[in-house]
Subunit: 149 residues, 2 copies
DNA sequence: CGTGAGCTTGAAGCTTGGTTCAAGGTCAAG
DNA sequence: CTTGACCTTGAACCAAGCTTCAAGCTCACG
């Protein structure tokens, strides 16, 4: 398929696909006789993986390192090793994402921990101070500020 | 505390803290008589929160919108909704990645459990085509997305 | 007093991840 | 055989998110 179709099917701009090829994230595409790039079906999946991984927080740099070079001349053992390596890297992505998730969850919990406890002065103040701190950090804490350190 | 101490305690560069003030993500810091910025204790928490949220995938733009000036009348529901939406999208990424992982695991198992089947051309080709896809291409589940502006 | 560490400013620079543009070549339809 | 959609290239441009630089002020210490 030509780049336009690939772009349409992945939802990525053609310029972006060319860009990925330029920086070596995608292999060099085959060419038709007229010079047009020609992609196999799998390219759709490849690009979707890249997009997903990006959303998962991976830089293109990282992805380039994670995706091995030329599969054409792979031998069996080598292949298995690479696949397993890939599995590991996916696990790594998962770990990172789950950490992201946990951090976000924490954030939510902190903010959520305010509904009824509002009248609990201690908690309220804690939450409030965090909220305030989100707004403008320099207010409150009304003490003069001497060269403290 | 002065900016240097704040930087040290948050692990962020002082330039970065000034940058956040410049773009309005942090409120304007109070000044000591000599013109030095002076931060309250809470600034430490504020910056950590920002850093955490960033790691959780929020842009500074988003954070600025999420953390409006007058937190006093902050709409918790709105904020919580946004955070939860973010959480969902992380979960979606997780699901996609886990599917990738499962498929890859299957593939490895297939290849491993293939002592004699090698001469079965059909199977070999199927496996090979999948392998190829892992090389410069890779499979993924998911839908298109526009990660950046 | 002067030396160095730390603070100030604005402006310029850098990296990442692309998009846009200009100047073309290709191709199917009318 | 022209028109318009689609493709090619390299180079320029862009936004986000910082860092670095230059030039100067402040402050504690010996």
């Amino acid at each position: 398929m030509k780049i336009g179709e690939l772009a349409q099917r992945t939802g990525l701009a053609a310029s972006r696909i060319r860009f990925y090829e330029r920086i070596g994230l995608l292999g060099v595409a085959q060419r038709q006789a007229n010079g047009y790039r020609s992609y196999p079906e799998e390219a759709v999946l490849a690009l979707r993986l890249i997009a997903t991984a990006q959303r998962a927080g991976f830089s293109l740099q990282e992805l380039r390192q994670l995706l091995p070079e030329d599969l054409e001349q792979w031998q069996h053992d080598e292949l298995l090793a690479t696949l397993r390596h890939k599995l590991q890297s996916i696990d790594l992505m998962l770990a990172q994402l789950m950490q992201n998730r946990a951090e976000l969850g924490e954030l939510i919990a902190q903010i959520e921990a305010r509904p009824e406890d509002m009248d609990c002065a201690g908690n309220a103040r804690r939450v409030l101070s965090q909220m305030r701190l989100l707004g403008r950090n320099e207010e409150a804490a009304g003490r003069p500020d001497q060269p403290s350190s």
